[in-house]
């Protein structure tokens, strides 16, 4: 449905310096990047409603058809925009201590969702997923699954270390850790400070009979 992978680069070029304007040998990397950047800029500048295929094409200096050739809807473009930028580091820490790992991770996740530019794109995509079942599915497999895997990582490592029981209901525990966070971001709009995320971690520890280590 959506364009998942970019066209294969001409073999041997190493994907490096070649600048082609689109010809029989594949799509124009130049155009692709210009489109993603234009979409991103428009979202930041004018909000979701300000992102239109027409506007993106104009700002990217690209024909509309070039967008439609590779994406179906503006949300598909935004999703690629997100994937392009989402190197935004959310890889969980691995300190050897669940408490520390979780505190660190949740803080960064809160910051990502609530304040960063990619976070804004992310929220826009979640919003779109409410309106469009088909998009929701693609979005989940392309963006959310990776995210959920990251969310689970600290817990999995703790299980491996023996800090947590092996029969832990991983899905439910993860939902309880990150769910309240998304809830605040998406629903109530309340700001999220460390005291909130730390509170979530403490509750988690208490539930599992772990003592709360001193806060940094």
């Amino acid at each position: 449905m959506a364009s998942v992978t970019r066209a294969a680069e001409p073999s041997g070029t190493g994907g490096s310096g070649r600048r082609h304007h689109g010809n029989r040998h594949g799509r124009s990397e130049e155009a692709r990047l210009a489109i993603l950047e234009a979409a991103d800029d428009l979202l930041v500048e004018k909000g979701f409603a300000g992102v239109t295929m027409e506007g993106v094409a104009a700002r990217a200096g690209v024909a509309k058809q070039t967008i439609y050739r590779w994406w179906n809807t503006k949300t598909d473009v935004l999703m690629d925009t997100f994937l392009q930028d989402a190197t935004e580091d959310l890889t969980p820490l691995d300190s050897g201590d669940v408490a520390l790992d979780l505190r660190d991770y949740l803080r960064r996740l809160a910051c990502f969702l609530g304040e960063s530019a990619p976070g804004a794109v992310f929220k826009a995509l979640i919003a779109q997923a409410q309106h469009d079942q088909g998009f929701a599915q693609v979005f989940r497999s392309r963006c959310l699954d990776a995210q959920r895997r990251r969310d689970r990582l600290p817990l999995e490592r703790a299980v491996d270390r023996g800090q947590l029981p092996a029969d832990l209901d991983m899905a439910a525990e993860t939902d309880q850790l990150v769910g309240p966070l998304y809830y605040r971001v998406l629903v109530t709009g309340e700001p999220i400070g460390p005291e909130f995320t730390d509170g979530l971690v403490d509750a988690f520890l208490r539930r599992h009979g772990l003592t709360t280590p001193p806060r940094p």
Copy 2:
């Protein structure tokens, strides 16, 4: 901004029989209801994108201007649609036992969000709130605040009864109870069964040193 209250009924009529087609002394109740119903129907039948001012007007047998006279956007209409219907019973049970109350409430909330028609409107409104800061504010004060008050009610009653400590961080606890639920509905899209909501209640009880009563 949005039309908050319907026009005052002529005193003493009990809101019953008066039929006026709109004049200086008030708007047409007939038109108002037709519009809300049309919007609701369209959302259910054709999804959010299928709700257009033009379509609502046509189906309601109403002039577009009549909609614009009282609402600014289609989401404002949907919000009133929601408020009209949201008698959908979510008033928490008061059995005298926090555990029972919470289990009952979360199950019904899950059902409301995930399966009911008003729940679909609710999700659409939350989605719109991601895109429009102004709408978000109105939506929160007109819809969410009441909801949050309901969410908190079981806990407040338990505090009153002495089942829970008086210094409970009400906001944080509520977020931990309902947050994962919203997260599943809005983000992951996973279905929510009683085992999930009951698990949330159990975790809550365990956190606060309460024993888990037998499940019904």
Copy 3:
């Protein structure tokens, strides 16, 4: 069809100081005048398209219904506007000399059509008559016939005096005198000076074997 005569004034008041807001026995003269004046002003300020029932009502401080009670269309209002103002003196001179009479009359007619405010209304009404056969009929009987009678007057007087033959084709002669004038005003838009109107008179005189008297 159109409102031809104003409502009879209450007898004895002499149309002077009475201020009534309209009751069962007569309409409000105040409102009638405000409407006519508003329509006139709007035509001058914003052109024909700027004259709307809504706009007239607003500027006159009058309810739309009050206009519709007495007139059918905005052109009906404009016609009454015209009749109200058209005291603009076009009564032909009677000097005893056809040549002098005609010269004077055509000059003033040209000025009326081309430059005066009532002339602008007149042109607007003629324009509307092209689009609406029904209006054309009313317009002719209410405005044009009187005008045509005035046009003919100098010739009729000359016939009475014996200056012109009794079997003169009055209609055709009048058309040849004023026709070119209307043509310039309505069609070509060329400015009309005395040399043009005087030329028309000279041609007329020559056609009928009359000598051209010295120009003033």
Copy 4:
């Protein structure tokens, strides 16, 4: 302002067979013709008020935007409609005799203005010119000037032949010939028969001392 010339045809095709649906290298001739025809039909069927951009688009099977891309107003469309059809033959006869030429020409002009379909469009355009100064200017340069040149032609030829003096005031004479005709059509609405147009010619001849030849 208004669309003056149609898009250049690809050279050498003779305007014949090429069918393009509109692209960067020119507009769709198909759409252009459909629009003009639809406008014409609507004017004839429902009168000037029945010609709406919406209606023209619908009947032509064309998007409104396609009309707005090439014309500003419905009267601009009607003007092109007129120019398209105005091959309606009004080219003056050249018999070698002014009297015959003029009689023939005025009769045909009367018929054109009073009875033909293009004549109806012409009157509608003149009406619009009363309301809109800008349109008046365009209309005159695009339609009227050509017409005036035709009007003058019989006289010019007579001057060339020596039948009329070389110092004839061409403009004034033309106005006196056709002015009464337009006056009847536009203002009084009286029907125009040959006796009227022939009378105009006779008057012209008499003014210039020419004998009236026998009528055909």
